[in-house]
Symmetry: C2
Subunit: 441 residues, 2 copies
């Protein structure tokens, strides 16, 4: 009897192990139990929860029978009646070891772990391929919003040129509030902490590490190349001031923390860029209207053109919805002996350093209020081949301020220009430097 | 040797037959040839074009070798070296017979044919299931925008409550232009024809038949129930006037042709509604900003919350991108002996008639300008249990006009109220009746 005939016997239950019972895990367990009938109909077999690995088995957890809790994740993963492992622990270890063990034992894995996938998707995908099982991670990027599946499947016949997204809810909440209220970064961050939108240690969010992990995952799948979080150029939002948001408005822009994955066509061999930084975007850009804790991802591809995906990027139930979609598909693949696409790195495009990426700059500086200053400053841009798109002068005397927006040039030329400005006598202080994205020129 | 072992031999080429070489077919053929290397890497085997069935084989078609053209679609589908059939002919016959023949011969099928899928998805899915092959139709709804795959796969573990979309580019172009320019329907339709946005016979678009077919497909997959185009309540946009768009603005609304698929929770057994009509929607609703030939679909589901998918809903290359995504996945399934989900109708939810659906109405009427008229008219609403949310009186004397927006009530109560108004002496004419969607109350 062939392998596929065995697996297609209808009705054999699919056993699920859930690792971790935080916000997302709790919701996954709830949905698995509440929607059991629907899931059975969609999978073609019952999907049964075998156990949940938690750190503290003594803690009472409503909605789950205590006998299902275990402190031994390793043993749970190894059980013969476990077919699918849902990893919701987070961090690199123990998830990396547990997922490897599951895959090597022929179990499919669903994970929401962006840090792990951004660092070790290579070895994990190889293990999944070798063992002919699924490794799904829709929930690792943009919460409930389907992004991974559209990129890997719906656009499988197209060529993606660019993915740009707001993929971190905490920073988007902070920047939206700053734009709306005019408040300072520190005050809004404190408020976000009180409201539960920011963690006690907000570093991963506000310094852009979370977004960088997601950018690495998006770039990998969009460009069929291996990109890790270390490959992603990264700046956070901690230096953004109320003044920046105010100034952005004057240029009909707002400030968003963007994750950008781009195919560069700079004449020579094809390269890609993956980067995360706060940027000015025009108010009419579709991402400008994405406020609060919402996420959105804009994909530009050769034939499909521009697509946008919008929804809730975090939270227990939304993230659990993404996990459950993966879980049902992986369970269905067990029943019908299929497999989803795994990491595809055949293109192996090299990653361009940020210096080589064409960008536009917004530079705000305090300048000396005397004749010739403007000519001197414009000269500093021209010298490095950076042309100026817009200039705004504000205040006078001690408060004289100059804001310059440039046309596209290599980021090296732009940043060297800024370094040059900082050396100039007529420039008292370069108070703010941001990039400008989402424009056609 | 098992079946799956045979199919997994790497490298066996996958043969493709394309039926129809209009805008979309031409682009599919171009992409198949231009992107052959990428497609081979993504599928795990070369994908080779075996032939293209066209009505007129004599016509010169740049970009394709004449030997690949054939007038005999049936013979092309039957060829032993054809594994996948891409149907881009449109209409019910001959596609229905050709697709059935392909499926029965064990070939997977990709189609962009919304009319066919909205009428015969049942028999075609059954044939695909029986023969263990794929039947994909992402391109049938909303062109390039991934909607079918997110609904059937990404949300496979969730419960969809509502799908509302702008899924017809022609009518959206017309309504957007009317809103922007204040021009009349007939003038904008003529202009749309000149620009190629409307067909010589625009009936299928402007009367809502195209949107109704898409609504049927969306409702089927969202609610795991069989819904055909005949089940969809339908009104077109031919009666929309410049006055309606002007009045909509006064209520901070615009008018869009919406396809709405909804789960009704009206106390008793669960039912669903699928309907297409022009409706007022608030300007702040995400669909209000979708203009021109663009499409967008908003999905509201139990755990994922509100998601929006936005992009190009028509055109050769965008629609071809959706076809190619399906094609690569179907080809990949050949290589890895997997299968995607087919029609799922286990829920078999009954369809509620429009009379039972809770709706809100916008009613514009010319009324007699005399005391007591307002009381009489409000009475007509109250009598049928319809409460009024907003009222606006304009003009005087012969031109006295009254606009009423109601709260939610059964569509029967709303439409009976309108019928009652038409009988009243004080109502000279009910000039316009539209529904209001996208509000919470």
């Amino acid at each position: 009897m062939s392998d596929s005939a065995v697996q297609e016997l209808p009705g054999r239950p699919i056993g699920v192990a859930v690792l971790g019972m935080g916000n997302v895990g709790t919701e996954v367990v709830r949905i698995l139990i509440e929607n059991a009938d629907d899931i059975r109909a969609r999978v073609g077999a019952p999907v049964e929860l075998r156990g949940v690995a938690v750190r503290d088995t003594a803690r009472e957890r409503p909605g789950i029978h205590p006998a299902l809790l275990t402190g031994d994740a390793e043993a749970l993963v190894a059980r013969d009646d476990v077919d699918l492992v849902v990893e919701l622990v987070g961090g690199i270890e123990p998830p990396r070891t547990l997922i490897r063990a599951a895959l090597e034992a022929g179990k499919s894995v669903i994970t929401a772990n962006k840090a792990l996938m951004a660092a070790y998707s290579g070895e994990l995908s190889e293990a999944a391929a070798r063992n002919r099982v699924d490794l799904y991670f829709e929930a690792a990027v943009a919460g409930a919003i389907p992004v991974i599946r559209p990129l890997t499947q719906s656009l499988a016949g197209d060529s993606v040129n660019r993915v740009a997204g707001i993929v971190n809810g905490t920073t988007n909440y902070i920047l939206s509030e700053m734009a709306e209220t005019g408040a300072d970064y520190a005050d809004v961050l404190a408020e976000a902490g009180r409201l539960g939108y920011a963690e006690a240690d907000p570093t991963a969010d506000v310094e852009g590490y979370d977004a960088a992990a997601k950018a690495a995952i998006l770039a990998s799948i969009a460009f069929h190349s291996r990109v890790t979080a270390d490959d992603v150029y990264r700046e956070g939002i901690t230096a953004i001031t109320a003044d920046d948001l105010e100034a952005a408005k004057k240029f009909d822009c707002t400030v968003k923390l963007l994750a950008i994955c781009e195919r560069l066509n700079d004449g020579g061999a094809e390269r890609i860029s993956a980067r995360v930084y706060p940027a000015l975007i025009p108010l009419e850009h579709p991402l400008a209207a994405v406020n609060g804790a919402f996420n959105a991802v804009v994909v530009e591809s050769e034939n499909a053109g521009r697509l946008m995906f919008y929804g809730q990027g975090a939270g227990g139930a939304p993230t659990a919805a993404a996990v459950m979609g993966d879980l049902v598909m992986a369970a269905r693949n067990r029943v019908y002996s299929g497999r989803g696409p795994l990491e595809s790195t055949y293109a192996s495009l090299p990653i361009a350093p940020i210096d080589d990426v064409p960008t536009r700059y917004y530079v705000s500086m305090r300048v000396a209020d005397r004749p010739g200053v403007l000519a001197q400053i414009s000269g500093a841009f021209a010298e490095r081949g950076v042309s100026i798109s817009a200039m705004r002068q504000e205040g006078a005397g001690e408060d004289a301020r100059l804001i310059i927006v440039t046309h596209r040039a290599s980021d090296r030329a732009q940043s060297e220009t800024v370094a040059g400005l900082e050396e100039m006598d007529s420039v008292i202080e370069v108070s703010s430097v941001l990039r400008l994205e989402g424009t056609d020129d």
